[in-house]
Symmetry: C2
Subunit: 457 residues, 2 copies
């Protein structure tokens, strides 16, 4: 890792138009590091630097930049420069960039591009954001099954410069339907005279273009693949998803789940910027919008707890010692519920648990919750005796058991219910569970109090 170059060095090189040194840097530094360095340049400096590079190097650097930076640079480019850039960009980056362009820019660009590229862009841009198709790249190696191993290796050598991965060859028929795959590993080890047809794996694991994108990532993770082929409704091969893109998808989907569990909104999907959220660079306004919806909604949710307390006002006035235990009891329900919900949301996300497991898991959850409730009742009863005497201790212990069981059952069930309703289970956030459990907890607590201590008159 060459970390010796600073932004100041780079700016000096740009200003002295030292295109040789700059080209060498871009060629030899890890692409991600180079892109990070470029992030600190002004748009004008960035343009000047890009202009000093050969077209393939320029495209390589550009494809590693952040979306915002790409858009800023593109806005300053001439049409002829844009066309050259598009010719060299990897298919998936090219499609993403195209989708972020204004309609009239798109039309101008398409009119100027070579037919093959134009068709590829229009086709790849047609898949809805968030699907496997939208994640796919069309830069894969496809070959005919009739080739011999030696011929296939020649084909690999010819096609390699334009391909994202050459470690899997996709064997297709004349209508581009996927017939099988051959790994470069097998190709290198095989007899040069054999045909690919005799060598290829026919039971290929594939992803459908219209599936949610995380399904392709799950296949890659489950079967330890380097890439997964993507097919459309007619079983035609339209592209591949590579393992590095799958890792990014997993990362972004996990961040989404985290944010939802924390009761914040996700603005990614449908804006073509899925997962581009960075807390470090987020604006005050974006953070405000992410957070305000649930906070205000939960205020109104908590009115139920308040109303519950108000309903029992006379009981509280008669037995003011009860108030001491109020936060402790209602919070325990929320805490138990948050635990259950968090365990369940993650298990649903990884596929460890599926909807049909619900009934079976409910029984176990009930058992665990009763054990937890008993333990906590024991802890709290000693405080109860000390602060309010025997009767209060009984009210508090009994409430604790019921509240913990209620909280747990709600917490483990809500993600299932959301999932069943085709909503994201991660919306069962800790704050939401807490609000529900609070309201229910207030009712349970004071109802038990009235039953045991008697109505105040």
């Amino acid at each position: 890792m060459n970390n010796s170059i600073t932004v100041q060095n780079l700016i000096a090189l740009i200003e002295s138009a030292d295109f040789k040194t700059i080209s060498n840097l871009v060629r030899n530094m890890p692409e991600t590091d180079m892109a990070e360095l470029t992030l600190e340049l002004s748009t004008q400096q960035g343009l000047a630097m890009l202009a000093m590079l050969s077209a393939p190097l320029r495209a390589r650097l550009f494809s590693n930049l952040q979306f915002g930076q790409q858009d800023a640079l593109l806005a300053q480019m001439q049409l002829v420069e844009t066309v050259e850039l598009f010719t060299y960009l990897p298919s998936d980056d090219r499609t993403d960039l195209y989708k972020r362009m204004a309609p009239e820019q798109r039309t101008n660009l398409l009119a100027t591009l070579a037919r093959k590229q134009r068709e590829d862009i229009v086709k790849m841009a047609s898949y809805q954001e968030g699907t496997v198709g939208a994640e796919a790249t069309s830069d894969y190696l496809s070959v005919s099954g009739e080739l011999t191993v030696a011929e296939a290796l020649d084909s690999v050598r010819q096609q390699a410069p334009d391909k994202e991965t050459i470690y899997t060859l996709y064997v297709v028929d004349e209508s581009h339907r996927l017939q099988g795959t051959v790994s470069l590993r097998d190709l290198v080890l095989a007899d040069p005279q054999h045909t690919l047809e005799s060598l290829m794996t026919r039971d290929v694991i594939t992803a459908k273009a219209e599936w949610p994108r995380e399904e392709a990532a799950k296949l890659i993770s489950r079967y330890d693949l380097l890439s997964v082929p993507v097919i459309n409704g007619g079983d035609k091969l339209i592209g591949i998803v590579t393992v590095d893109d799958a890792m990014d998808v997993v990362d972004q989907e996990t961040t989404e789940d985290f944010h939802k569990m924390g009761a914040t909104l996700d603005f990614g999907k449908g804006h073509g910027i899925t997962g581009d959220f960075s807390l470090k660079t987020a604006t005050t306004s974006l953070l405000y919008r992410k957070r305000v919806f649930w906070l205000v909604l939960l205020v109104f949710g908590n009115i139920f707890s308040g109303a519950g307390i108000a309903y029992f006002e006379e009981t509280i006035e008669a037995y003011i010692a009860l108030v001491f235990f109020l936060p402790l009891l209602v919070d325990s329900g929320g805490n138990a519920g948050s635990q259950s919900a968090t365990l369940m949301v993650r298990a649903l996300a990884t596929g460890d648990v599926v909807i049909r497991d619900w009934a079976r898991m409910l029984g176990r959850e009930f058992m665990v919750a009763v054990m937890l409730g008993l333990t906590m009742a024991l802890a709290v009863s000693t405080i109860g005796i000390f602060r309010g005497g025997y009767e209060i201790a009984m009210v508090v212990s009994l409430s604790m058991i019921l509240i913990v069981v209620m909280g747990s059952v709600i917490g483990m069930s809500l993600p299932f219910i959301l999932s069943r309703m085709k909503l994201d289970p991660a919306a069962a956030s800790a704050p939401l569970i807490t609000s529900i459990a609070d309201a229910a907890g207030v009712l349970i607590y004071f109802s038990i109090a009235v039953t045991i201590l008697g109505s105040p008159v």
Copy 2:
């Protein structure tokens, strides 16, 4: 994907000792699917099935089984069978299995293994659980830089059957220090007469054996690698971490973070079973132990809130309308805090934010919290006027602003503080934040009430 075979089919094949069909199945079905099917067999059936396979196929199936199942099968094997299994298992699976064996079993096994394997196992088992070294496999391709491309390809063909990946060749010197890497891609494209030394990348991205294992996964994800070489203190190459293992590490570390955020304990590390947690198959007792610690601890934490309320008992009795707003106000602090903490924990986990960003982010957090507090104060003031009149509305609005700001600042700071203390920031769980914010909220609310409404006498 061949899903036509059921467990009943498989059992029938085992009982009729149809080793040919079984071998074909194991050879052709995706390993993960086959392993999942095997999971439903009894240990005796599993042993019978393994006995029907050739040694390499047996090792391949075995390495895909769950740890518990591996241990059960191993317990029934003769020493000679165990030795054969160890000879064919991939290095990382072999080491994991060895680490789970009883001390006397280990000694017996080591005494019987070939010297080379014995040394490899002892070396690879010496890295502490949770480090990069413990994740590494020693099944990589190492070559001398003096080889020509043609010679290197021959070496690849010879070594390939035993290696996890052949897509990167590691060039080492005579003391096994890493000199550079050559990808199979470059090898296939290069002139056969060139030497590896003239071809190899010298600025190699490496991971240190003693780093936490997620650091290797982060390098693979950041630089889009298929594997990362692992070096020890003396710069010697000790193994590699492959991208599929990196995906598993990310998955397991994320699950850990989720569980911690839900205030449950993580028992993985140090037991050699990191990440093997499955909610689906977890026992009641394991779930109880995961959850009881934080629940009971938080009960005692909530005593502070209770004590706060008890302290203001007279104020509450005098202005009983205040109780209606209690859950709403204190929960808002907890909710705002949970949001901040969740955003921050994830950003720290992905490396989006680092410790030194704290001061800069605190200012923005404060701004966002004030905006949120004002919005919520507005919402709640209308209810305040309706339920308690103008003065109560003022108490409630003012409390809301302060409570939301306080909750947010605590929520965003606690993960930083934990991180600073070398603790896991994910321990700043929603329930913990809620408890802290509740106690602080009670104090803020009633203090403002006493100030505005006057002390009750």
